[in-house]
Symmetry: C2
Amino acid sequence: MPAPDPIEHLIGLLARLPGFGRRSARRAVLKMLMQPEQSMLPLAAALRDAAAAVRPCRLCGNLDDQDPCHICRDPQRDQSVICVVEGVAELWALERAHAHRGLYHVLGGTLSAIGGVGPEDLSVQPLLARIAEQGVEEVILALPATVDGATTAHFLSDRLRSTGVRVTRLAQGVPIGGALDVLDEGTLAAALKARRVV
Amino acid sequence: MPAPDPIEHLIGLLARLPGFGRRSARRAVLKMLMQPEQSMLPLAAALRDAAAAVRPCRLCGNLDDQDPCHICRDPQRDQSVICVVEGVAELWALERAHAHRGLYHVLGGTLSAIGGVGPEDLSVQPLLARIAEQGVEEVILALPATVDGATTAHFLSDRLRSTGVRVTRLAQGVPIGGALDVLDEGTLAAALKARRVV
Ligand SMILES: [Zn+2]
Ligand SMILES: [Zn+2]
């Protein structure tokens, strides 16, 4: 173990981040140690600030420093359309595509027989409650083009049928097996625009 | 800008780290926000601890939480052999190869006509002082196999000639243009073992 404890400890924590290995963690730490005051302390403060300020929106599940989140608060957004996404990463990806002017609902996952994820593990009841309370006219199922995503979309469209709300899903155009948050924004925007009734 | 300010700020800082882009920074932040207490606060603390504790060793230039560093303090290390490296990344790479049992000296760069780096910008005088004070018998020039690295090795072996110390360099085996800190440990160990007199 060549590096001393505080450095090894920091490298170990950074190496756990997705997309970061031990080698890149080591490089990042060395680079920061050249100017610790200018690089490490601001990053430490930003982490603490984000941890303190950010929480899930009680309405949609988005992560924000306001609750309800800035999307749910925005009077310009179309309150009658809710786009259902697996997680916050997908919500942000759709926002970056500037393709959806309604609201969102974060499910918190997809149904998975293998993963042991059932309807009670997802934010399904809160979605039904929102539909019952607000004047929701359309629910867009923006779920991943995987087996679990399709299963979840099928389950939700069944549950939503009795509400009389229009249920649509993203157009084919999302690659099979593809994660939404790594898609280019043009593809996302096109798939959203060409959505069709389930 | 889909994400709120504290999150965007944190993503921006993380995206500046080498090996990290905006996309991976966003993923890392989202993952951490799932468990802010368990992931963000420990990382923030580790950054602050490292920034507070770590400083350059006054003898060799290694980064450590002790000064002199744990290598310079280690009575088991061979005080008569100093391995000269460009930076701390290279020092750590050689330590990971467990190939050098002597001490180190961090130059802080290589000579570069284009980059405007002259001998006075590198830790050359302190190296000469260490050689004059300690009973140094060999200086190993473990510099990169680049034009600037070769220029620097040439310059140093000239300056060291009058000291009577034995000057060696890493064996050929280091790929041309290759950075030391990305080499596999076996290659590094072999190149060190087969070092030859300049
Ligand atoms: Zn919200
Ligand atoms: Zn030292």
